[in-house]
């Protein structure tokens, strides 16, 4: 799955996802990606977020919407991402998942759930302060 958040110079936020879903899924199964607030969420008065991972679990917690609401309250994007991962961990400690977050001032962050074989999450960032699109890594929690 690709999840993307774009914030323009004037603070306009847009988000999106695209995926082919879970391999060997039961025909008709839809995961979190196309679900507003789960796959991604954008609000130009607060920020944007997008998620990737086990959609059957994650969609129930609307992680993207919740992360944007945390950022609306002033929470740093990285912390907002960690908080939504923690909320899911309580019910599904071994879920596979990660979230990216960015607020309207251009700060960004990401978080992921640490499970065997998945202890770091790689994501891409492009901004004027980086000479070119740059790969970033975050340690899972």
């Amino acid at each position: 799955t690709i999840g993307m958040v774009v914030i323009g110079e004037n603070g306009t936020v847009a988000s999106g996802t695209s995926t082919n879903g879970a391999v060997h899924k039961i025909p008709g199964r839809v995961g979190d990606s196309p679900i507003t607030g789960a796959g991604s969420y954008a609000d130009s008065t607060a920020g944007g977020a997008a998620a990737t991972g086990d959609g059957d679990i994650m969609m129930r917690f609307l992680p993207s919407y919740q992360a944007v609401e945390y950022m609306r309250m002033g929470t740093d994007p990285a912390v907002a991402c960690q908080k939504v991962i923690s909320r899911i961990q309580k019910y599904a400690p071994n879920f596979f998942g990660a979230v990216i977050c960015a607020n309207t001032t251009g700060s960004y962050g990401a978080a992921c759930n640490k499970i065997p074989g998945f202890t770091q999450f790689h994501f891409m960032v492009s901004s004027p302060s980086l000479s070119q699109p740059t790969e970033k890594v975050v340690d899972c929690i």
């Binding site: 958040v5 306009t12 995926t19 199964r29 507003t36 130009s44 960015a102 891409m124 960032v125 790969e135």
Partner: protein, 183 residues
């Protein structure tokens, strides 16, 4: 992370998608254009086998796509789910925003909408996805997403159905509930 706009953030190390989105912004495109083209780049590149055609075959060997796009100014959303036979899922999602008052279109009906919007109707399977599918069939359809069915889904393929015993018990409780125990 230093505060600076514009900014593009995307999941996983999908570099070309990030570059595409950034270039769209640099050339004066809108934020929605950047998301559509950036995610669309992964649909073309089949990023990680997890985006686009030819990946993640379902239990019948078919690849279907899900996508969404959201405008944070108007809070408008376009989304497609279980999209069949059309490769550019996020492009179709964008058309849902632009040409309907709906938010989410699903399945074959979403594909018909896409064709009406000018998207080609194509086969999303490839040699690779067919190989993945046949390998899965040869491994007793493991892993799969079924539970509480017969035959045992952790050991064999289907078709699966509900175990007989559970069906009988349920019918009993329903009849009891309706006669003696209701609001």
């Amino acid at each position: 992370s230093p505060a600076a706009l514009p900014v593009v953030v995307n999941t996983w190390a999908f570099r070309k998608a990030a570059e595409t989105a950034w270039r769209v912004l640099q050339l004066g495109g809108s934020e929605l254009d950047a998301v559509e083209r950036g995610c669309g780049q992964c649909e073309i590149d089949q990023c990680d086998g997890s985006v686009g055609y030819g990946g993640s075959p379902d239990e019948s060997g078919e690849t279907t796509l899900d996508a969404m796009i959201m405008d944070g100014n108007t809070m408008e959303v376009g989304a497609v789910a279980d999209l069949r036979h059309v490769k550019n899922a996020i492009g179709v999602a964008r058309k849902v925003i632009e040409h309907t008052k709906h938010t989410l279109l699903v399945g074959e009906s979403a594909s018909l909408f896409a064709v009406r919007m000018g998207f080609p109707y194509e086969d999303l399977t490839t040699q690779k996805s067919l190989l993945m599918y046949s390998k899965w069939l040869n491994q007793n359809c493991q892993p799969n997403y079924w539970k509480n069915v017969v035959p045992d889904s952790s050991e064999s393929c289907g078709p699966y159905k509900r175990p007989e015993k559970i069906i009988y018990k349920e019918e009993l409780t329903i009849s009891q509930r309706s006669i003696h125990n209701h609001d």
